[in-house]
């Protein structure tokens, strides 16, 4: 905190550094890995949004997949119906659509606590994708919408493989959104969110409008969900209800708990775990040449085991463990801190 640079500049510089590293990473890996790296990206922003809502503000959402659903269908419909829009405009509108839905959900949620809130958000995750069946003409039912996005500038076609280009777009969007989240987490607003989580009465006496704060958390968080869904649709070229099951919402929350509730770093570990755990356990199942009905369920079972073990060993998630390690590395001898 000794630096005089505003958080915006610091976080933008950090984001730029990350983007350069990621671009380099995609250059030395195959298209399949590029796709996975991009997948980590959009899961990261979904989980980071949830970290803000659940970790910082204490509002448990079991329905964040619903906001991804909204983002994905916003992009899909825009690409199909309004092809004149550039992809960045589609993604921006996906963010707005997610945010708007979150504003409505948040206004209702501000009156609910604990299990009631969790139940209401779960209902959202269960109910919303069913809209596609109700309006099959618009949403193409359970098949979903398929489309192709030509986002690549003409000069780069054939030079950069499409998947690589898409992974750059995904990470550029994700990092920009993370800059906003990092500003928020580090500034007064982040502190206010946590204060409301810890004690609403005391927060209001400190001058915090509790209801407004909770709605704001929902708004920002669901806007991130909208972006995540929009990026997923952009990356895969489809938006189908089957991608946005309640299981998705639950796995986002599980990823957050696994990664660590208290910080945005936790979202990164959670998103990596979410994507790569599936990959590794699939490989593992293949290695053991298990029957397919066992192999298919192995990732889920192992994920559960890892989640339980992690929470037992590091109640603050992977990031909690990392922080403990970091403290030990930085200050080998336990000593009292003499604060100013």
């Amino acid at each position: 905190m000794t630096t005089k640079l505003p958080p915006l500049v610091l976080h933008l510089l950090a984001a730029l550094g990350c983007l350069v590293l990621l671009v380099l990473l995609t250059l030395v890996t195959d298209p399949f890995t590029n796709l996975r790296i991009a997948t980590v990206g959009y899961y990261l922003i979904a989980v980071a949004g949830l970290a803000l809502l659940t970790g910082f503000n204490g509002q448990v959402s079991l329905g964040h997949g619903a906001f991804m659903f909204i983002g994905a269908y916003t992009v899909a419909l825009l690409v199909k119906r309004v092809p004149a829009f550039p992809i960045w405009a589609d993604l921006l509108l996906a963010v707005l659509a997610g945010g708007l839905a979150g504003l409505l959900a948040g206004a209702a949620a501000a009156r609910l606590h604990g299990p009631y809130l969790a139940g209401a958000t779960l209902a959202l995750a269960v109910g919303l994708p069913a809209v596609t069946q109700r309006f099959p003409d618009l949403f193409a039912g359970s098949n979903g919408l398929s489309f192709t996005v030509n986002s690549q500038p003409a000069g780069l076609v054939g030079v950069v493989p499409p998947t690589r280009w898409q992974s750059w777009i995904v990470w550029l969007s994700v990092l920009l959104a993370l800059v906003v989240l990092a500003n928020l987490a580090r500034g007064r607003l982040g502190r206010t969110l946590r204060a409301v989580r810890d004690d609403e009465v005391a927060a209001s006496l400190a001058g915090v409008h509790v209801g407004r704060t909770k709605i704001l958390a929902f708004l920002v968080s669901s806007a991130c969900g909208g972006l995540a869904g929009g990026l997923q649709a952009f990356l895969l070229g489809t938006a189908a209800p089957g991608s946005f099951t309640p299981a998705l919402s639950l796995s986002l929350l599980a990823a957050l708990v696994l990664g660590g509730l208290g910080s945005l770093w936790g979202a990164l570990w959670g998103a990596i775990a979410l994507v790569y755990f599936q990959v590794w356990t699939d490989d593992f199942a293949e290695l053991l040449s298990l029957r397919s009905d066992i192999a298919d369920n192995l990732p889920l079972a192992l994920y559960g085991v890892v989640l339980i073990v992690t929470v037992l060993a590091f109640p603050a998630g992977i990031q909690g463990g990392v922080r403990k390690l970091w403290v030990r590395v930085r200050r080998p001898a336990p000593s009292q801190r003499g604060e100013s």
Binding site: L8, N183, G187, L205, A206, G207, E339
Partner: protein, 264 residues
Amino acid sequence: MTITSHEKLLEVDGVTVRFGGLVALHDVGLSIRPGTVVGVIGPNGAGKTTLFNVVCGFLRPDEGELRWKGRPLRKHRPDQLAGLGIARTLQGLGLFGGLTVLENVMTGAGRLARTGALASLLGTGRAARDERELRARSEDVLAELDIAHVADLLPGALPYGVRKRVALARALVAEPELLLLDEPASGLSTAEMDELATRITSLSEKTAVVLVEHHMDLVMRVCDEVVVLDFGEVIATGPPDVVRVDPAVADAYLGTAPEEQPSA
């Protein structure tokens, strides 16, 4: 009561609060002048905390009116108090367990911030400057209360007396004109209570103080004026020496060995 409003900070006028059939406060009136320390005492269930809750906007009075600097205070919400210049500590402390001591105090300083939510989201230079100022001011208040050394710790790890000081720091950092203290002495040792008495007296140079308290020693020592509640009604008002010898008060309260009663 004739009122010349400009010299009164807070006026409570004829306030009645009913919970169903129970009358928690009945026609309660009191006024607080700048720079004074007013003690509200009374047996448990007399309506002391209810009175605080009415002032803070947690409860709406069924009858009567509140005035802040002569202007009526109607339908105000608790989160507007800080902006008016009223701060309150809670009986249960209500510290933010997941925030460090410094962050707890900085949260209380929110009304001094000059940049809004958008600047915070964007992380602008002005928002950063704002944060530095809030931090510096909060550190000052912590130092004033001799708890600067715990700034980076979580409140849960601290002894009760220190936590009470953190709660006080959080209320003081907003530089209130009126400070409402809900049982500031409960759970303190005799030495800590002595220190509290000195502190309240020195605070009254900057802010008016209203305290709800069970400890008669403290009340008699620091208060300029004492308001005695019993069954929701004001049964006596006046300087400590006068109230102390009031037969109605002795009957209602002083005769009942208040120290032995657990706080509600």
